[in-house]
């Protein structure tokens, strides 16, 4: 009788262990920001410019030559958090007759956090809002201000110290940028470099 009961307990524990292992492997776990391998205490400012960045609505890609950002980071309860406080965008153009007459990132700060999905680390930025006004002779959306809103997940690469946003990283993190009901494809690679107290130190996520 006793043996049966302990077998049941063992089985239960085994199931629980398997379930938690599965969740740890595939669902959203919580990594932290590290500087030279040590968990960040306090906060740090990360400043960078996109190596390459573009936003595509089928048939039109908008590219900005200067895509800068300021991200304030910290670890809270062992999880990497942060907020984007600035995103100045300059020299933007499209591959069509449309001209970008104004572009502005709005409603800061945009909250961010780190997640691990299937063993890979991502930064997720929420509450994104970028308004783009197009003009140009013949441009079908000329005069319209297009707000692009939503959230974005970028894959963190510790070796190159970059975050790369792509359809794959959006899919992995369940994030999406929208223009009305349309998905906007954002591709971009951003260097992650500490700019304040921990300059020159390797910024990684694990």
């Amino acid at each position: 009788m006793r043996r049966k009961a302990s077998l049941k307990v063992l089985k239960g524990a085994l199931v629980a262990a398997i379930v938690s292992a599965v969740f740890a492997g595939s669902a959203l776990a919580a990594p932290a920001w590290k500087l030279n391998g040590t968990e960040l205490s306090g906060s740090e400012t990360v400043v960078g410019a996109a190596i390459a960045s573009s936003m595509t609505i089928p048939g039109m890609t908008t590219t900005c030559n200067h895509f800068l950002y300021t991200l304030k980071i910290n670890n809270s309860g062992g999880t990497g958090k942060g907020e984007v406080t600035e995103l100045p965008l300059y020299e933007c153009s499209t591959n069509t007759v449309c001209v970008v007459s104004a572009i502005k990132a709005e409603k800061f700060p945009w909250a961010s956090h780190l997640v691990t999905v299937s063993g890979k680390n991502y930064i997720v930025i929420e509450n994104i809002r970028v308004s783009i006004t197009y003009s140009g002779k013949g441009c079908a959306v000329g005069g319209l201000t297009v707000p692009i809103t939503g959230s974005a997940g970028g894959l963190i690469d510790n070796t190159t110290e970059t975050a790369t946003f792509s359809p794959t990283s959006f899919s992995a993190t369940g994030t999406a940028l929208k223009f009305g009901s349309n998905n906007v494809e954002w591709k971009g690679t951003f260097p992650t470099e500490a700019f304040e107290w921990h300059r020159e130190q390797a910024l990684t996520v694990s």
């Binding site: 069509t96 002779k137 319209l144 009305g180």
Partner: protein
């Protein structure tokens, strides 16, 4: 040697023909994008954009009747520059067909006999044969009830799934040999005013740019309005309308108060600046 030369010439000719055919196919495909605006009054100085909206599906629920839209209905013309509320007025098509008059069959026809959905195909086919033929079948045709300038469009609301995207004053023409030529639900003085929206349960569809973004096309936009009211039918049965109108009203459930009717239009909407249309 001569044979070889001939073969080369033949191959050359075939290649040239293939290339010409390819060019022609691509040119005609390109032309077709702009052909959508053939009847846009693009040279009218008040016209800012050209628009074509093709309704390829959906339904009109009016009182007790549901009419599925199975044949495409086209709304075409120009739009004025948007006002401060981002609303543009429509400018009628140059061929006079701003809203195409496309008859849609009313299920069950004049007698309103519709077999249950679970009926065997044979029963459905027989019912269609007896009750939706040229004598007992009824067609419902949407017609504009007011001048084209009373159609209002908000591109912003259309794209961003907010508010009213398209205001359409219409009347429904019921057609059947017994109903005469003037059997209508709604009129110029008392139209069915549809304030269609892409907000839920509608959807804004998906935007795609063509011709270097000179043409914007919204695919799969679902415009819905379930707030309109429908007056009683009138003019049905010619001189016998005093007898026939009440029968039709009873059959359809008219007049029908706001909230009991619904229009769902599944659209492909194409837009271009008038200046771009003029150049093609």
């Amino acid at each position: 040697m001569t044979e070889k030369r001939l073969t080369r010439i033949r191959v050359g000719l075939v290649a040239a023909a293939v290339a010409v055919c390819g060019l022609m196919a691509s040119a005609s495909a390109q032309a077709s994008e702009w052909n959508k605006f053939d009847y846009c009054p693009s040279t009218n100085p008040t016209v800012f954009k050209c628009m074509q909206a093709v309704t390829t599906g959906g339904e009109i629920v009016m009182g007790k009747k549901t009419v599925p839209i199975v044949k495409p209905v086209t709304l075409q013309g120009g739009t004025t520059e948007p006002n401060e509320e981002s609303v543009s007025s429509f400018v009628g098509a140059t061929n006079g067909i701003t809203l195409s008059k496309t008859p849609q069959a009313v299920p069950g026809g004049l007698l309103g006999i519709v077999p249950p959905e679970s009926s065997p195909p044979l029963v459905k086919a027989l019912s269609k044969f007896f009750f939706e033929n040229s004598l007992t079948g009824v067609n419902a045709t949407l017609e504009l009830a007011k001048p084209a300038s009373e159609i209002k469009v908000s591109e912003l609301n259309l794209l961003f799934e907010e508010g009213t995207a398209l205001t359409l004053p219409v009347k429904v023409h019921l057609e059947n040999p017994f109903l005469g030529k003037n059997c209508y639900v709604g009129s110029s003085s008392n139209p069915l005013t549809w304030k269609l929206s892409t907000a839920s349960p509608g959807t804004g569809g998906s935007l795609e740019f063509k011709e270097e973004a000179q043409i914007a096309q919204i695919n799969g936009a679902k415009l819905v309005d379930s707030t309109w009211s429908a007056p009683a039918a009138s003019g049905c049965g010619g001189i016998l309308s005093f007898l026939v109108d009440p029968i039709i009203n009873s059959q359809i459930g008219l007049p029908s108060a706001a909230g009991k009717n619904k229009s769902v239009l599944n659209n492909t909407i194409t837009v271009a600046l008038a200046e771009a249309v003029n150049e093609h």
